[in-house]
Amino acid sequence: MKKIISLACAFLLALTFVGTLAGCNYKKDYTYKPINRGTLREPEVEFKTAAEDPEQNAKFREKYPTLKKYEQPVKVTVGAIQYQLESDVKSGTTPMNQSFNKIARDVLNIEIEYTVVSVSTGYDQKLNLAISANQMPDMFYTTQPEMFTMLRDTKMLADLTDSLYMLNDNLLDNYLTYMPELLEACMEDSKLYALPQQSNKYASAQRLYIRKDWLDIVGMQAPTTIDEMIAVGEAFAKPENKAKIAEKTGVAASKLVPLSMHKDITYAGSYSAEGMFNAHGASVGSYFKGEDGQLYSSNTSPEARAAIETMRTMYEKGILDNEFSNITSADVQSYVSAGQIGMVFGEWWLPKDALGTCVKSYGAKGADWTWVDLPSYKGNESLPIVDTTLISGYNLVSKNCRNPEAVAKLINLFYDIYYNDNAEQMYGSGVLPSNGFYYQFVPVKVWDGMASAAEYHRVQTVFNELYEGGLNSRELLSGGLSEDLTNAQIAEYEAGGGRLYKISASEKGFYCLNRQVVEKINSEPALKEAFDTMRNREKILHFAQGYPYFVAYKQGISIDKMTTAEREGWGIYHEMIDENGSYAYVVDLSEGKKKAKYDEFYGVALSAMTDKGGYLADQTGIYYARIITGTSGMSAFDEFISVYNRNGGDVILKQVNEWYAAEHASEN
């Protein structure tokens, strides 16, 4: 008996050994297997928007109603992320007690039950666990493309084609006319498995931010070409100029750095090298279409080589921070805040971020920033590089859900509340954040880029109207707009018909628009009308922080002559309100007034990328850093190309091109 057992053990052991060896030898097939997307099923009645053809639209809506109330109560289970509350939302609001639930019950007869609720950190894990335990909610929103593809491939999702047609005119028209590729990305075998939420792909567009007061000190203009940028950098780096800057701003000359970026060269984002790469026509990890019609990897391209060479020159001349390979994004952020950096690359939100902190702290000594589009390289126009399509998340419905169309109804309801000025008249005061409506808690998500841009333009208009209308006294606005009020004062004020706005629940001051300002606004109908058209959430914050600065700026007061409170509004004003502000660039790109270049690869990572991409990204970072810092010569770039391709770069590229051919098959 014992002999048999030991023989069996030996056999098993041998089997394991052979199996392991075979595994080592296993060559994975990286051929791209295309997904048969098919075509979207046509609606039974032809779709025309109400603006185009009211009659046809009425027929269409009879078949595909947007907000038809269920006759019997319908229960759906959902997942939701419990984010921190923004300052204007009623405190104590949770997904379970938010006012949206009640509105959905009253308007649609939908009973929402929250089965997976988590703060944002643990949400995906919780959802994954619930799915593995066969307790997937009826509908939920996820930002993870991998989760979407996994559920699609395991046939756990419902077909949402009918739900799509039940979306309101704006959304449906957006999807069908402007973003069909978004829908296509969610399809398989002519079935639509998700209602994707688009995101503003232009928001990641890079620009060059420069200290304006430094430029004035060295007597130069903001650079428009890479050569000019190098010249400005050299001027910033000169010891005598550093001494002048130090004397004016009070920051030690030894700490001043002309251009900074963080160590993660292969990682795009704020304060990174991405802007520099973009200026040369490259972007780490992106794929572009070559003249032969095939995609090529930007990492090993001549454009990337040119960018590296520029950075190498800048490093050598002491323009690029010589410590860059040791510092993180957060470090650069703090150096910028501390007034030590002359130039950085980044996205639109930098003014309210570190640049704003810098102006707040050093504005009294003249600290000021300006920004320009990416400087051009050798006469070629430099464009920001962005994704071709950007799906920021997926509204998914379980195939076990009895009422999949409820997802469309909920989206329509959310849209009505969030993007509509008359929401309060339509659905009552429950739509106000102060009564427990919080857009982040709504279990479905959708974003309307057009509406967002329109709103952006509107805040600028309102500011101008208020200013022209007579709300332009610096004295009236002095001391900022926040004022610590006691609860008794607030109650008294609200009893008198005054409208108070909670500005910030965080560190400083708890309430509100300064009393005199509210009185002034309420006293003149034109002002009140203009002011009330600003939607509540967030825009009031823009007003409270940015308006005093706007008034001083409009009156030509220089930054060092402003009051501290006025200077605090610098960031928000030049970011979100100024017609030439940093966000205006994103709006211009979205509206097609400015151009961008596109990364041709998008979507879920391909298998070769998953297997080999990590090592290649590491190698890319190492080689780039070695060349920039002068450890290796420029010729190391050729060595890098061969290392990159040998270790899987060519396998990935082949798969990417197969993917590209499959995705664009219908075009040829």
Binding site: S120, A130, Q135, S337
Partner: protein, 305 residues
């Protein structure tokens, strides 16, 4: 006099030994200081002004000293709710765990002749020290029993800790048999023997187990994030989420104005530090007092008489 001199000479430390002591002591002091560094930095950050922290100017000493972070913390209800929930968890969890472990350890401390099948149970419990059912099966059990979002999801799965039980078994074995026999002659049953004889003489072991269990409950964060809804998060899960949320948002600073608005809801670095510091306090305060039990407990059962 001579004697004393002799003694002194006798005690004279060789130079090499002296050198060793000096180097050893300074290294240990240095090491202790290195352990303190993060705490000092945390405390300094929590007491500094926000601008100084954002500018990266804070090291071991606060810059622009202010108590704002702590003042805001005092009004932060979620923090104290989480704190309260953690205290509740520690108290109920420890009591429950102690009851279960004691009831398990007492019979298993008997010999096989008294308790038949003891061997099986010992193996049974020991296996759980090395293998668990895995995350998904555990999750399924918890949700099927409808324990989600209740305190029991946190305290029941860890109530039976085999390692702590082995500790108690070994200690119970050292209790002189004569005590127990005397009690039995007086007519005491097993429960009376356990409660009135064995437990009182095993206080050091009990204290150790209590400390282990309490610290484990106080520091646990993972189960909280899985089973509890945000309103019922224990303190460490709350802090874990707070820091992670801030980090992910700050790193991925994606696109939309909506994300930017979310960013504004995050606590500042100073407030973050203040919360972490307050969360560390209870355990930091407990350790010095419980240390004697702790050391005693660690060597439990290591020496047989």
């Amino acid at each position: 006099m001579e004697n004393i001199k002799f003694n002194k000479q006798h005690l004279k430390i060789a130079p090499s030994r002296r050198a060793f002591l000096i180097i050893n002591t300074s290294l240990l002091v240095l090491f202790a200081f290195v352990c303190l560094v993060p705490f000092l930095n945390l405390l300094a950050t929590s007491l500094s002004s926000n601008d100084a922290v954002n500018a990266g100017a804070v090291g071991f000493l606060p810059v622009g000293i202010t108590g704002t972070a702590y003042k805001i913390l005092m009004s932060k209800t979620e923090f104290f709710r989480a704190f309260g929930y953690s205290v509740l968890r520690v108290v109920t969890g420890t009591v429950l765990s102690l009851v279960v472990i004691t009831l398990g350890a007492y019979p298993l401390s008997k010999t096989s002749s008294v308790f038949r099948g003891r061997g099986f149970y010992v193996v049974f419990f020991t296996v759980t020290m090395f293998f668990s059912g895995g995350l998904v099966p555990t999750y399924i059990i918890i949700t099927r029993l409808h324990l989600n979002n209740t305190i029991f999801a946190l305290i029941l799965p860890t109530a039976m800790n085999a390692w702590n039980m082995v500790l108690l078994i070994n200690f119970f074995r050292q209790v002189p048999k004569e005590l127990e026999e005397a009690a039995k002659i007086e007519g005491a049953g097993h429960y009376r023997v356990l409660v009135q004889i064995v437990l009182p003489v095993s206080l050091p072991a009990i204290a150790t187990v209590v400390l282990f269990t309490a610290v484990q409950h106080w520091n646990a964060w993972f189960d909280g994030t899985i089973y509890m809804q945000p309103a019922k998060l224990p303190l460490q899960s709350y802090i874990y989420n707070m820091i992670n949320e801030a980090n992910t948002l700050r790193q991925n600073l994606t696109s939309s104005p909506e994300d930017q608005a979310l960013l504004a809801t995050l606590p500042t670095k100073t407030l973050e530090s203040a919360q972490i510091f307050i969360a560390m306090l209870p355990i930091m305060l407990v350790y010095p007092f419980a240390q004697k039990f702790f050391i005693k407990g660690l060597v439990l059962g290591s020496v047989k008489e």
